[in-house]
Symmetry: C2
Subunit: 108 residues, 2 copies
């Protein structure tokens, strides 16, 4: 799967930044060019391009240059990796939380 090639570290790091989450939200609504993404964000097009590079490496966004315009859209790989991480941890987590009081009592 594509998710296997994606590092969860990159996904978390990418989504840690508010501007990048805003970009992801925008692209979840509709694909966009770099300059259209930059327009409402009080930063330069260059900065947006840098964010897009991070998002692309994390597998959350796909971009493709057509003529002089770069079309950006959501990609599933990063999202899949995140979903998988959450699913893997949920079992352990819930199990642990259920038994937490009991475990604390056992501990010395």
């Amino acid at each position: 799967m594509a998710a296997a090639r994606v590092s969860i570290a990159r996904v978390f790091h990418a989504l840690g930044d508010p501007t990048r989450r805003a970009i992801v939200d925008r692209l979840s609504e509709a694909p966009s060019s770099v300059s259209r993404l930059a327009a409402p964000l009080a930063i330069t097009v260059t900065a947006v391009a840098q964010h897009l590079a991070v998002l692309e490496k994390s597998g959350l966004v796909r971009t493709q240059k057509v003529g002089r315009v770069r079309h950006c859209s959501i990609e599933s790989a990063g999202f899949d990796a995140l979903t998988q991480w959450v699913a893997e941890h949920r079992r352990q987590w819930e199990h642990r939380l259920d038994r937490l009081g009991e475990i604390l009592d056992e501990e010395e």
Copy 2:
């Protein structure tokens, strides 16, 4: 819910660091003290305590000082916030991905 008080930004930021993910993984297995967490991590106890402060603010970890030992364990709030974020985006995302080809054709 506790998740409402948790900022998803903090959760992503907290989980962006490999050491903190390692700590979360360890605490998913069993609660631990600060020094026991630090032992296998080639960093100082102070650094671990700093990571724990980040994890605690993000709602992923709960700590409680008993005597001179700080007991650390998993907390659900951060995890809930993450699960919620993923769930909210999944719908949009899947919907968008399904229609991606179509949308790209419509775009000019």
